[in-house]
Symmetry: C2
């Protein structure tokens, strides 16, 4: 994108399946679902949005071994080797570090954008411009994050406080803040210099790995052994054998929050962490009575429902309001929209009953 500077994207696609059961399962987590109202999955949208910035051969996806095949199927435009398969999840620091080692091997001077697979973006042009600015800032060797303009006193996200400006649209990070309570979140919103932590990070691969070397030396050493193993075609065997022993820590806690200096690019591009069926309804196209339907339905005298079925099946609702109905081949969920958080209780009950086929 930058003329002289090659940019890779690393998409973290390690989601689990609990909150979107029964559409999401252990074998088919959230990122594989079309939750943003379009027919593409969240993962496919995440890759498609990068088109103006990153060539497909420079997009890496880190996912778990069990999801690697589906990831490659959903992203046929990516070389198969660009899907990195973790034998086991060790949080995001090992995931990002391993991807950085791959990027450094391909281009030691490259910048990389680390992006979660899940968020839904409504203003894609603004998103691309924000990323372009963040990538530009990372080119000079800084570590950069994107702070999302908050629209409500959200207690479910971490925050990042904006510090002094560095250049146009780029600021120092004053501090990272954990998920606040309601009162604190309201203070953040009123203060105006707090932004949602988007989980997006931008840096040269070498800069990240040097920072890891300082803060998480064991991890950094492992990635150097990965380089050596890769040189003799034995990287996956090494990963297979040792990945599970790596320090399990997030990139936020393990690296970013203790890094010497982090820059921040504020962004306002309609960023939604689709966290439950409630937010899926909020983002979906709804008819005049507030119903959102995926699939074929007969909806009589019902309002503000989210109906998600299959193309070869009819769903009929009569006289119900604010209901979520999600129907899949082998499982069906019915609940009020406001109970969306309790889907995990169903999953827990199924685990307790050892009904693995439904997990």
């Amino acid at each position: 994108m930058n003329g002289s500077q090659r940019c890779f994207a690393v998409i973290m696609a390690g989601g689990s399946g609990t909150r979107f059961w029964p559409a999401s399962r252990a074998a088919h987590p959230k990122q594989f679902l079309a939750l943003g109202g379009a027919s593409e999955s969240l993962l496919q949208a995440a890759v498609r949005r990068l088109q103006p910035l990153v060539a497909p051969e420079d997009v890496l996806v880190v996912t778990s071994e069990r999801h690697a095949e589906e990831t490659r199927t959903q992203l046929p435009q990516l070389p198969a080797a660009n899907v990195l398969a973790e034998p086991t999840g060790r949080n995001t620091a090992p995931c990002v570090g391993w991807a950085a080692a791959h990027v450094r091997r391909r281009d030691p001077n490259a910048v990389m954008a680390v992006l979660p697979a899940d968020p839904h973006i409504t203003d894609e042009a603004a998103y691309v411009e924000t990323l372009r600015r963040a990538i530009g800032a990372a080119t000079s060797g800084d570590m950069v994050t994107v702070g999302v303009q908050p629209t409500r006193p959200e207690t479910g996200y971490g925050y990042v406080q904006r510090g002094p400006a560095v250049t146009e649209g780029v600021y120092r990070v004053a501090r990272f803040v954990e998920k606040p309570n309601r009162e604190t979140a309201e203070g953040f919103l009123a203060a105006g210099d707090f932004f949602w932590n988007s989980g997006m990070f931008f840096f040269k691969a070498t800069v990240l790995l040097e920072e890891m070397h300082r803060q998480l030396p064991d991890l950094a050493a492992f990635f150097e052994r990965c380089d050596a193993a890769a040189a003799r075609g034995a990287e996956q065997a090494l990963v297979q054998a040792e990945y599970g022993t790596l320090t399990s820590i997030s990139i936020d806690h393990g690296v970013m929050e203790k890094a010497r200096s982090i820059l921040m690019v504020p962004g306002d591009f309609g960023w939604y962490d689709i966290g439950s069926w409630t937010s899926a309804w909020e983002l979906a196209a709804r008819d005049a009575t507030g119903n959102a339907v995926v699939g074929e339905a007969v909806v009589l005298d019902s309002r503000n429902c989210y109906v998600r079925g299959r193309t070869d099946k009819l769903i009929a609702l009569i006289g119900v309001d604010d209901l979520v109905v999600v129907d899949t081949e082998d499982a069906l969920l019915v609940m009020p929209r406001e109970r969306a958080q309790d889907v995990r209780d169903v999953v827990a009950e199924l685990k307790a009953r050892r009904r693995d086929r439904y997990l």
Copy 2:
């Protein structure tokens, strides 16, 4: 049953599929469904209940052509020829008359019990005793009906008023009454001599056919031509050609209400005309929180729901009360229990959309 008197049973199984959609369909109407809380269908229960009274080879079922195969499959204990297939529905008078012709051919002196396939019976011993009495009364050449002891001022049924006693437990019918309005129904209940018209009739086949000869001579003539055709193995061809031209009228209106004399045997055996998913819930086994589940379900914080799924599928409910959830291979219905009558609106909508595959 009666020693000297052979008794046939004629089960009228001509139901359509509207009120129990999506479990019932045009091709799979109500009588084929297990709605009584057991695993047997209503039709299978209707035949099984007769065991103490009628031999399987003397049970005839009249159904439509399109349901003949399923009827034979559900009732393997019946000779295939005992399932009479109507090319088209012409209400109950032709159906009963045709069955009477068959009975008369097999035994000119036989009594027949005409029974609808649909009702659910909770006290089967009392039911059998009531039928035994009604059959006994018919042996002497009378036409007999069973009046069901009413338990509420029901406006959905016709009534029969009890006249003077003839012998123990057998009365003359004073009159048949159409479905009353609420006030009238309350008066009936208070009066004590009004009973629900069960749609069950008992008579010698010859007596019915003679009565038809008097009241519906065209029909009676057709059945005589059936006898003649049967003698040369051509009955089904005649039926195929002419059944659709027969007078379409109910046995109640066409024969019973204008017959010279009808007897009535009162009965009290837990008679339920399962008319909707609401009554299916009422009759089903329910857990301590009022939920009735057919299939596998995880039901959390929900009360008084009727859940009907499949054995190979899981249904999860969270935080819903008084809901009906019926899931089939290709269609799903969700509605409050109190909206059960509106299922027909879904069926109407599907017809309007020409979505025949769901009808």
